[in-house]
């Protein structure tokens, strides 16, 4: 295995640990999955098995979300408002670039990724102003202002914003031509027309799934 990895590394220009990982993974020798799913053996009697199946399917149906929810596809940069069975709204968006910024003066580091997982709409804002964080100045090699009012930008976030925690929002943008490309610092940008529709159709507590 190690010799194979070394040769593979020479051929493909990888370090041998990288080649070993590649080889090991592709040979099906990955360690046990991060999610271990263990289920019992089904009952022998058909009637009991059928009853258990109806019960399990009932429990699965109860997990389906009954109200509309938001889904953000960071791969294709598309935002949906949908239900289990239909799509109400589908619109291009922009999500986090995945880039990193390091402040050389202080060593602070920011990673511009849109967080993945399940969230909820925590706030709804009209005409939101952007209070620029430190990274917005550091990124442009500007001095961080002492006066907090100098951090405020009334245009950047568009006409509506939906907050989903930790400073992340679904909001508008002045860069509508870049919708569909991952260029943000983590937030989700949507075009103005569909953002207004979205704002009107969701409420506090609406689920947001980001993947």
């Amino acid at each position: 295995m190690l010799l194979g990895a070394a040769v593979l590394g020479l051929v493909a220009g990888l370090s041998w640990p990288q080649a070993a990982r590649w080889l090991h993974g592709r040979a099906g020798g990955e360690p046990a999955s991060a999610v271990a799913v263990v289920v019992s053996d089904p009952p022998e009697e058909i009637e009991i098995a059928e009853r258990e199946l109806r019960r399990a399917r009932g429990r699965l149906d109860a997990l389906r979300v009954s109200r509309p929810y938001i889904v953000v596809d960071t791969n294709a940069n598309v935002l949906y408002l949908r239900t289990e069975t239909s799509i109400i709204l589908k619109t291009p968006c922009s999500t986090g670039s995945g880039g990193d910024l390091i402040d050389e003066a202080t060593g602070r580091r920011w990673s511009f990724k849109t967080p993945l997982g399940m969230f909820r709409v925590e706030s709804k804002l009209v005409d939101p102003w952007w209070r620029k964080p430190d990274w917005a100045f550091i990124e442009d090699n500007l001095a961080i202002p002492e006066d907090p009012d100098r951090r405020l930008d009334p245009e950047m976030l568009g006409e509506y914003a939906l907050g989903f925690g930790d400073g992340y929002y679904i909001h508008g943008t002045v860069y509508e031509r870049l919708l569909g490309v991952s260029v943000t610092h983590g937030c989700v940008r949507v075009g103005s027309d569909n953002l207004e529709r979205l704002y009107e159709m969701v409420g506090i507590g609406t689920r947001i799934y980001v993947f």
Binding site: A27, V37, I46, L53, L60, G99, V183, Y209
Partner: protein
């Protein structure tokens, strides 16, 4: 010289695969004495339902191949977050037969785990010239911004299940060396792979599937809904 190196690599790969164990799902366990050889259709359906209930308790998404609806789905905590219709590249009866045998096999757990993926061919979504400019503004590399619409994508769950995903995108090979190695692996591991299916989906959907199919994502194959008698 080049062909000699490739031959050595093939031999070493073959040795590595044969020595790499049984895959991510542990050693095969023989059925207890007196037990039925395989699962009945209702057992398969029940195990899949129980498995999904367990997956819904986790924090991450899971892939579902819904054979009844002919859909590839992504679910998170039980909610449907993405889906696309799929067609089979082979005759239905062949595919269903292979999957039914896979699901009925007591050696196969209800949930497989994605161990790797390979993009054979793809079409770039954005022109390089555009991304060069945008990347400079966004302070990232053009590669980080690029998205690929697969023409041919392979998703592997160890040696349990391999899903060949094909689209009609006008695609080019991503890496000739990578494709050659992947093709060799396919030939060498074919006899040891429990089930291999080929599906056809739209290029846009394949783009999402390629991105969402991260290593270790659980993969659940749901039988057709009438498979419980």
């Amino acid at each position: 010289m080049g062909s000699g190196i490739i031959a050595v690599v093939c031999l070493l790969l073959a040795l590595a695969w044969t020595g790499a164990g049984s895959g991510e799902d542990g050693k095969p366990v023989p059925p207890p004495e007196g037990a039925r050889q395989g699962y009945r259709p209702i057992d398969v359906a029940l195990r899949a339902a129980w498995a999904e209930l367990e997956l819904a308790k986790t924090d991450g998404p899971y892939l579902v191949l819904d054979l009844g609806r002919r859909e590839v789905c992504l679910r998170l905590k039980g909610a449907l977050i993405w889906s696309c219709p799929m067609r089979y590249a082979s005759p239905d009866s062949e595919v269903m037969g292979e999957l039914e045998a896979y699901l009925a096999d007591r050696h196969n757990p209800p949930v497989a785990t994605l161990t790797g993926k390979h993009l054979y061919t793809a079409r770039e979504r954005f022109p390089d010239s555009v991304l060069t400019v945008v990347a400079r503004v966004a302070r990232v590399t053009p590669e980080q911004l690029q998205r690929y619409e697969p023409g041919h994508l392979e998703l592997r769950c160890g040696r349990k299940l391999v899903i060949d995903v094909r689209t009609d995108a006008d695609a080019r090979p991503k890496s000739r060396l990578g494709n050659a190695l992947a093709a060799m692996r396919k030939v060498l591991t074919a006899p040891m792979t429990d089930a291999r299916i080929a599906i056809l989906i739209e290029p846009d959907d394949a783009l999402t599937l390629y991105g969402a199919a991260r290593r270790h994502i659980p993969v659940l194959v749901c039988p057709t809904t009438d498979q419980h008698h």
